[in-house]
Amino acid sequence: MEERVLIEGIRQRNQLVFEYIFEYYYSGLCVFCLNYINDKLVVEDIVQEFFLYLWSEAHSLEINTSLRSYMFSAVKYKCLDYKKHLVVKDKFNSYVKENNEVSNNDVFDHYVESELREIIQKELDKLPKRCREIFILSRFKGKSNLEIAEQLNISKRTVEIQISNALKVLKVSLKDYLFLLPIFFR
């Protein structure tokens, strides 16, 4: 749906529009927040609260950028706010340890599940069956190379080769998504 239509729908508190953007952005926003707060439950609360805030302030919203960048940066600020207000010191310390490289200046990419899935699925489907199977076990089922080798009764080396092949193929077809920051030659 066109962004302008969506923004107008939000301003008018059109429930259909709200449900559409909720389903479209929810998981992407959650994963994005994980960069700032490594806690799935907290992150879901923050995103849920953000949508409720959007609903209650609908009429007075001013979205000057794209809807997408508005959503992601608004939710980013909610995360930073949350961190600022953490009262329990222990919790805060563990966040600091896990996120010691995250500062206000860090930029994380904005991804939406349906878009990502479409691209990745399309490219994964192009892979040879075995290669795809191994790659999925590794990347989507979280299995280690050794576990995969044992499960499929093949050598660990084969697993490594197959994953490497998959990555090479995907690298080519996902090239539009590989927005890379400047590389510093070490």
């Binding site: 929810y26 009429h59 190379n145 890379l180």
Partner: protein, 348 residues
């Protein structure tokens, strides 16, 4: 051969990303990366693919439909989340009906406002059977429904513009940010911020209702200086305060249904018969009584524009399980008399 070695190195990437490599292999990869800018770019590209698939995997872990279900529930109970749970402030509302309703203590108002220069309090009552259009000292307009009363000063020269209402009125308030417009109706009062809204505060009703057409209103209890905010209404919303169980309910409505009375249109939408009969009584200035209590919860829907009472009663008789009987007015020896009464009962 270089190609072979590169292939071998790339096979180590997955292990590298997962931190499963031996120190020796990890070094191999790092050294390969440092050999050239192309190597490093190649590494980063593969890492990016790795990350993207990982991100998709993470996304799948979030249950969107559960979250959406939660969202739907949340917006239903609080259309705007500024509403206060009344239970928490029940203590404040135990205060008995304030003197603002009814016609008691006229002198109280004079006492309170007497230090101001020559302010005269005026009271307007819309004659039963008619509407009254009134302009307030600040150019705000009020349409008073039948049998309703509004009280306000000849000039608004205090910090707040106060009016008192018993009954029902449609307000169109001029904006004046420095002087909040307050509608005092009893336990729950209204603070207005330049808007159009309808207030229903009938004495014989268990409910107090405000419907907002445009602008913004806030509800509060207690005095304005020490007000306890109960929440804010947005256009298209209605708040209903139930006196009997001290509760607030907010929902979205078609505003026209609640303000059309000022254009002479009578609307019933799933209205319980008891309320229908009350509304008709006021509208036609006739006492109408429900004889059979079973009829009370029957829900009635209709729109009347210019029908007279007889036409409405006939329609009710044909479309609902009711019948009616007119009792003529009787005059007593001492000169008093009863008005004509219409008795509505269940069809046999």
């Amino acid at each position: 051969m270089k190609q072979n070695r590169e292939n071998n190195i790339q096979e180590l990437f997955a292990g590298y990303f997962r931190n499963e490599l031996s120190a020796e292999d990890k070094d191999k990869v790092n050294r390969w990366r440092q050999l050239s800018a192309e190597n490093e770019v190649e590494f980063m590209r593969i890492k990016k693919v790795w990350d993207l698939t990982g991100i998709l995997n993470q996304m799948e872990d979030f249950n969107v439909s559960n979250a959406l279900h939660k969202f739907r529930k949340n917006i239903k109970s609080t259309p705007n989340s500024s509403w206060v749970n009344l239970q928490k402030i029940a203590a404040i509302l135990i205060v008995p009906i304030l003197i603002y309703t009814g016609f008691i203590s006229y002198s109280h108002f004079l006492r309170t406002y007497n230090n101001q220069a020559q302010v005269v309090w005026q009271e307007f009552r819309a004659i039963p059977g008619s509407l009254s259009n009134i302009t307030l000292p600040d150019s705000s307009t009020v349409c008073l429904n039948m049998g309703s009363t509004i009280k306000f000063p000849s000039t608004f020269n205090t910090d707040t513009r106060d009016v008192f209402l018993v009954g029902e009125a449609y307000f169109n308030v001029t904006q004046d940010k420095d002087h909040p417009f307050l509608v005092k109706t009893g336990k729950v009062n209204i603070e207005v911020l330049g808007t159009k809204f309808n207030v229903s505060n009938y004495e014989d009703s268990n409910e107090f209702e405000v419907v907002l057409e445009s602008g913004k209103v806030g509800l509060f209890s207690g005095s304005y200086k020490n007000k306890k905010d109960l929440g804010k209404l947005l256009p298209g919303e209605r708040v209903v305060y139930q006196k009997s169980n001290n509760s607030l309910m907010v929902d979205k409505v078609n505003v026209d249904d609640f303000t059309c009375w000022k254009d002479g249109i009578l609307v019933f939408k799933d209205t319980p018969m008891k309320e229908t009969v009350n509304k008709l009584s006021r509208w036609f200035n006739t006492k109408i009584e429900l004889e059979d209590p079973e009829l009370e919860d029957y829900f009635f829907t209709a729109t009347f524009i210019e029908e007279n009472l007889m036409q409405v009663l006939e329609l009710l008789k044909h479309s609902t399980p009711i019948d009616y009987k007119i009792e003529q007015h009787r005059e007593f020896k001492n000169g008093s008399y009863t008005k004509e009464i219409i008795k509505v009962y269940k069809k046999k």
